[in-house]
Amino acid sequence: MTKYISLIFTIILFSTSVFGQEAAKKTGLQVGDKALDFKLKNIDGKEISLGSYKKEKGMILIFTCNHCPYSVAYEDRIIALHNTYAKSGFPVLAINSNDPDVVPEDSYENMKVRATEKGFPFRYIYDATQSIAKGYGATRTPHVYVLKKEKKGFRISYIGAIDDNSQDAKAVTQKYVENAIAAISKGEKPDPETTKAIGCTIKWKK
């Protein structure tokens, strides 16, 4: 019995210490929730918030970064999404929440470098305190939130991957983000509303 109790105790101890962060990631926003507002610096130095998007019908908010190979693999597809959908009211807003002390390539200065190299046509904002990634519950890069504008502000309509094939853009069979925007535009719910994909973890401050 004593052995059993001590085992339970060990498990509880581990659940609270080592696995403490496990609980934290569950607390993010879900589809249907009101979008969390922010005020973050774009690579051009200007502060961007949800209020900066007055005429748009929504936006494609993408947690990404400079260094992650999955993010890099999707850069061209993210550029294409913006070029296609900004016109119809759904621009891309890229956001980097990584701690540059963990990954120096993901500093604000290097965001400008990467954006220039690739000619990003979209805004790329810096979540220096990581509070926006935490608030949304973003865990990986790239991690997409499609927002839809309603009378009282933005609401989350889709969370997940851009499409179903990170390895090969030519072999994609399901374009989740494009399908979500098509559904929203018709006043329907995206199907699926959430998807999963492999990605780099967001590099949290230590």
Binding site: L7, V18, V103, I198
Partner: protein, 148 residues
Amino acid sequence: MNLYSQSVTELTLNELDARVAAGKDTTYVVNFWATWCRPCIAELPYFEMANDSLKNQKVKILLVSVDFLSLKEEKLIPFVQKKGYRSELFILNEKNENEWINRISTDWSGAIPATLILNTEKKYRHFYEQDFHDFPSLYATFQTLISQ
């Protein structure tokens, strides 16, 4: 030239399930990693130490890379040969991430590193979307489960 010139086996989730089921009372520690994932590379030495320490127990450590299959020869093989990993090495051979991630665990967002610890006869399956920062925390987790 590395003496442990390691091979990397392609693995589907059906093959993984079959392997674990055949292991009966063996505990499988399945770590999902990739050559491009820094926290994964940082924690792999602890899994290697655990692999060495638990050699005489019914524990198998399987390191499953989620690197792009198309980069196996070019990136993964040279990487593991340089590192000289001693645990069993695999590369996942699955396509639709939105499907297979949920088969591992519905709690998994898809971020790596991630580790699954499971045992068919003892009927447990624990999933960790996290990295282990040191050997003691990893080893203590294993020991707690193995002694169940």
